[in-house]
């Protein structure tokens, strides 16, 4: 239990997926202009990442390893994730439109979110057990959400500031992300 907690903490803070591992940066910059969007995206990532983590772990443990075709990991994972996301999107749209309105519209963004694919690959590489996979997927997603929401908050403020023209928008966003990443570096001593 304690180990799982340490794992969770390290996934959220020390190895923060956005700021330390550099995964999922396109939506990080794309959806952080508004707090509202950032929150929606964060929730959607938590949802999909946990599901994708579980399914890819199963595919890996029982199919890839079983058939001794580990080199097909990339192809099969991405196909499974893409199909899963598309399926969830269709399902939510039809069955739970309220949830779809909140989260669903962000789902397509997740197909090509390397955070999802990246975490699934990390789970396998680190040879996590099933339980650890669930925890790490969830924790990485929470870390993603945390960084995204923090960043969105800062960006909303920045939009008020007078920024030199060439530095505006993405440029200042990246510099800001750098400073946030700097603060996250201080978590390294935690474990």
């Amino acid at each position: 239990m304690g180990d799982l907690f340490v794992l969770a903490i390290s996934c959220i803070f020390i190895n923060n997926i956005l700021l330390a591992q550099f995964l999922g940066n396109c939506p990080f910059l794309g959806t952080s202009k508004k707090m509202e969007t950032a929150v929606g995206m964060a929730m959607a990532v938590v949802f999909v990442l946990v599901m994708a983590g579980i399914i890819t772990w199963i595919v890996d443990a029982y199919l890839l390893k079983g058939l001794n075709v580990e080199y097909l990991r990339t192809v099969s994972f991405i196909l499974v994730i893409a199909s899963l996301v598309q399926f969830v999107e269709m399902f939510l749209k039809k069955s739970i439109p309220a949830l779809y309105a909140g989260l669903g519209i962000f789902l397509p963004l997740i197909t090509t979110n390397c955070a999802v694919m990246g975490v699934c690959l990390i789970n396998i590489k680190e040879e996590y057990t099933f339980l650890e996979t669930v925890v790490s997927s969830f924790a990485y997603a929470v870390g993603f959400g945390l960084a995204l929401i923090l960043f969105a908050g800062v960006r909303e403020r920045i939009s008020l500031a007078r920024v030199p023209k060439p530095l505006q928008d993405t440029s200042i966003g990246l510099v800001t992300a750098g400073i946030i990443a700097l603060t996250f570096m201080s978590f390294k001593g935690m474990v």
Partner: protein, 202 residues
């Protein structure tokens, strides 16, 4: 024909050079540009995938049903990514280790899928290859440039290939460790983007 071929090729080198003009595919840009060598390696791998997936998707563009379009494109791209992964593992193992997880993640690089959808699925194979090559080389150049800046400031060297630096700052140079770390990647890219905006404004 030759003209449009040249046009499709050159646009990736300046007018639409990723990730500066097209702010996409940031993850590898940020993660692997600790040195010029890494940057070039990643760029070449991406270019390979871009060119071949563009070619294949362009050839198959009329066969693939639109509803499973994304799934099909992804499979094609992932296949080439895996080939790159295996080949790199076999012949440039050190680089493979350095680029690590970002090789398989070329699959989800928005640039690759973006070009597949935006260009290859609508254009002839020849043009698609030109487009892929142009964008890929542009991407490689960007990665190398960012890698050079970060390596120079963070390590005091510039290493193009094989471990021996082609350029070294004097002994008095105190490496700016920050640039090699994660925050340096963000800040470096942000400032380079700013520079591009300045130049582009003319």
């Amino acid at each position: 024909m030759a003209q449009s071929l040249a046009k499709e090729f050159t646009k990736g080198l300046w007018a639409e050079i990723p990730p500066f003009r097209l702010v996409l595919g940031l993850c590898p840009v940020l993660a692997v540009t600790k040195s010029v060598e890494n940057g070039i390696g990643m760029g070449v791998a991406t270019t390979f995938v871009l060119v071949f997936s563009n070619l294949l998707i362009s050839l198959l563009r009329n066969v693939i049903p639109s509803k499973v379009r994304i799934a099909c494109f992804i499979v094609i791209i992932a296949t080439f990514v895996t080939i790159v992964e295996l080949v790199m593992q076999a012949y440039t193992y050190e680089l493979f280790l350095k680029l690590g997880i970002f090789i398989p993640l070329i699959v989800v690089n928005c640039i690759v899928l973006g070009r597949a959808e935006a260009f290859a699925s609508k254009n002839s194979p020849v043009l698609s290859v030109a487009d892929g090559l142009g964008i890929g080389i542009g991407f490689t150049l960007s990665l190398a440039a960012l890698g050079a800046v970060r390596e120079l400031l963070g390590n005091g060297t510039i290493t193009i290939w094989g471990g021996t630096p082609v350029f070294e700052m004097g002994a008095n140079f105190l490496p700016f460790q920050f640039m090699i770390e994660a925050p340096g990647a963000f800040v470096g890219l942000g400032l380079m983007l700013c520079l591009m905006n300045l130049i582009g404004k003319k």
